[in-house]
Symmetry: none
Subunit: 130 residues, 4 copies
Amino acid sequence: MFQINIMSDQPIYEQIINNIKELSLKNILKPNDKLPSVRKMASLLSVNPNTVSKAYQELERQEVIITVRGRGSFMNPDTDISVDKNRVGEAVKKLREICIELAHLGWNEEKILKEIKNINQEIRKGGKND
Amino acid sequence: MFQINIMSDQPIYEQIINNIKELSLKNILKPNDKLPSVRKMASLLSVNPNTVSKAYQELERQEVIITVRGRGSFMNPDTDISVDKNRVGEAVKKLREICIELAHLGWNEEKILKEIKNINQEIRKGGKND
Amino acid sequence: MFQINIMSDQPIYEQIINNIKELSLKNILKPNDKLPSVRKMASLLSVNPNTVSKAYQELERQEVIITVRGRGSFMNPDTDISVDKNRVGEAVKKLREICIELAHLGWNEEKILKEIKNINQEIRKGGKND
Amino acid sequence: MFQINIMSDQPIYEQIINNIKELSLKNILKPNDKLPSVRKMASLLSVNPNTVSKAYQELERQEVIITVRGRGSFMNPDTDISVDKNRVGEAVKKLREICIELAHLGWNEEKILKEIKNINQEIRKGGKND
DNA sequence: GTGGTCTAGACCACA
DNA sequence: GTGGTCTAGACCACT
């Protein structure tokens, strides 16, 4: 289920974060679902437990998961309430950078919009298996 | 003209690259236009010359500019000849990550599409280099 | 009567301790009152009996309660005999940390003092055990 | 200047955070001041660089400091704008716990208020040496 | 069993 | 030089 690429330039802990967020969007990970323990996830992904721990801590900071002492980590039952303006701003800035990059690679606006639609269909497609 | 933010988490040399690409898209930097020398650019932006140098080297690798020893750097007159499949793949991958992030921040597809349109209008408003 | 929050970052056994202390301050738990057994309390709070046991042991160490083998645990009839200087020191140290934190969150001294008054009115409203 | 206690039950990285916040309140660390590098601070405190790094990262998250790639960390020039409701709530909750604890140790409200005044005079006393 | 903290030591990107 | 990431391995508190 998880796609971790050790050789990627993207940090492993970020990849873990993104994977979990994506599974959440697809509704494969549902509210209150238990995540594998830090050690288990680490052995599943063949990475160091500290790396998984860092990912989980950041996910908790973002209110995606909730960690309970001595019990483990669980998907947050509350549908994300607090919106972090900084994070939105960061994401939009990155979106801009990528549009510039794609434009330089010959993509026109239409092609980008089409790709966005594809991506959104992909990452949100789980919507009915609740 | 340049917008460098030393506090950003984006490397300065990447910011320089993106600025030049954006100016090119807007047709403010035209084919064969001369770029400021590494030292001049460095003092303009108040950054280390090594940083500018790294940006120029990467731009040349991407065939955005051409550097002639002893003469300086110039915008490539050949508009986008080679298309680097790796770079396209990377950009699409990042696009995907950002869609996930924005979805988690409460954006639906429509809002993302609208933002893309805004951005494209902004970065391509020179309008004639398509 | 009890307020246990399993998601809090405060250990459950500490929450139990504080709840009992608060009930004692409010004079709801009076000297010689019998506490629920470890098992009963555990089932009341839906927590592990070991957790309750740990709380009771610590309460006994602090002379808040007295446990009689085979009889159960009771509120200590002797009101606050021994004063543990270490505990006072610890509490004052924590008080300091929180003042720093609140100052960083924009609270001035006056606001902190006001909050303290509110809290004390709340936790001591039984009013007669002073 | 720094007071780190390896034997304390408080994590080292939190102690570092609190020390820096306190120095900031006292105006000993002023906006834009450079902090010792991670490695330097680590050797000053005789702790592992990772521990200092963790403290710095948390401080940046709280907008107390700003870290610039390849340059180091600096006190945030902006007087703290964003207020984190969660952090305020947490702090008030802890304040409540301590009031209960102190009440149990025989402190009346007046004594607590006096201590708060002492603490605030202490931690904010640097206010004029700007 | 769970996660949290810390150390020692390594490698990398950036300026 | 700077900070960021990762590993391996240890210890601790909590349930």
